[in-house]
Amino acid sequence: MNDVALSKNGARVLRGFFALVVVFLYAPIVILLIFSFNNSDIPAFPLSGFTLHWYHQFLVNADLRASLETSALIAVMTSIGAVVLGVLSSIALVRRKFRGKAAASALLLSPLVIPYVVFGISLLLLFHTIGVPRGMFTVVIGHIVITLPYTILVLVPRLEQIDESLEEAAYDLGASRFRTFRSITLPLILPAVLSAFLIAFTTSFDEYAVASFVVGSRSTFPIYLYSALRFPSQLPQVIAVAVVVLIVSLTVVVAAELGRRIAERRVGAA
């Protein structure tokens, strides 16, 4: 089976290419790592000596920690909302027949288009008009809009590949639509759901423009970062944070992935 799609040589070539790309992807991150220990205000070569100072600074920086917490909370709420709406949308797009499908899918994907700064401003105007105070929830609202297209773009291809007859069989056996979804569809699209969740989470966590307009007086991590980029005294500790964020998130994602695979094996998964 392995040979059907790729010869051994082909696989070797592609593996090499993959390795090259991975090096390309990680080199800048390694550079961040190096500079997080660099004893200088400005990240530039040549290096100025080793120090743990920036890590210490970041740990005692309450504002920075608060912004990380804010971002994490917002990202979690966003991802849940976006995935729920995304699943609803994808099922409707793939399985249901209705008029105006092209228009609906255009609408659902259109947040990809809008420059976030414009969206942020217009959202601010909206909230002002309807009298909603700005805070974490307004950011979540905006982020759900932004991340919804991504979840759909991940879920739709996956749903397309699933055999509809499986679901039809469940209906024939008397299962309700919800039951069918829960027992048949959901387990099959779960990898895509998880990908969608991850994409929504990282997009929200990292998002600057919309958040800066509708977050009110709190600070998200990117907002803190962007303003830190203006003040060199903040920059090195922010680099240290980035390294920590990377390690933590890598650990979390790897653990989640391993956990998922163990769970899958237990269920006897496809």
Binding site: M1, D3, V4, A5, L6, A11, L14, R15, F17, F18, V21, L25, P28, I29, I31, L32, F35, A44, L85, L88, R95, F98, A104, S105, A106, L107, L108, L109, S110, P111, L112, V113, I114, P115, V117, F119, S122, L123, L125, T129, V145, P157, R158, E160, Q161, I162, S195, D206, A209, P222, L225, Y226, L229, V238, I239, A242, V245, L250, V253, R261
Partner: protein, 276 residues
Amino acid sequence: MGLPVAWLAVFFLAPIAIVAAYSFDVYTLFPGPHGFTLHAWRAVAHESVYLRLFWKSVKMSLVVSVVIVLLAYPLAYYLALSGTKRKYILLLLLIAPFLTSYLLRVLAWKVILGDQGVINSFLFWTGLRSSEHPISQLLYSRFAVMLVLAYIWLPFVALPIFVSLETLDRRLLEAASDLGASRLRAFWAVTLPLSIPGVIAAFFFVFVPTLGEFVTPSLVGGASGYMYGNQIVDLFGAGFPDWETGSVLALFLIGVVVVLTVAFSRFLQPQQVTAE
């Protein structure tokens, strides 16, 4: 379907309507006389400078998108179809850079591309270039913007292609092989066509957002890497009370992409994948 559409109607369409109203001067935050007028639109059409900037951004986005889709396809192919046991871990490896901060990854590139950055200092060290003549076009240029955008979006783009390849029915390939097709033939006839929805989705994943990109150009683009998105940001950021021009530009961008999306939507429609 009702809930997602309603959500977007309220929190997406309504704000856009506000922006549209702004561009026609029907609505404005700034107190003063206003009413429906095409004045702002006419002004933009007259000043070809903004339209030229738009075209420049389109070209840049196109190059970036095409290049990284071409790069991502073999990666996704390898992961999905080589039968490697560690495909999810490797996929994770590919996506993981996305979990760091976008802003700081861009900053790292500034260090690499600068006049005394990694690349140039390496060249000095190996004597390939003297330290009086570094390669200056690496940073603060269109090249820098396209390179960094490609870097940022590559992991993102691999994902939908991977998903569509991974869920490909292997039996089709086996059948092709049984029928005597070479691997290459099987690829052209079976794999590629079936993965097209994923590829097109991937292309959209990157082309559309990069059109409106402004953070990367603002950090590594310098004066010549300035993009359409930057213009909109600047017009809203420093242009108050004249937000009409920014609204016009924003609406124009939205219009272009809506047209594109509708035109391509048939590729994003559910395809019937038969197992026969």
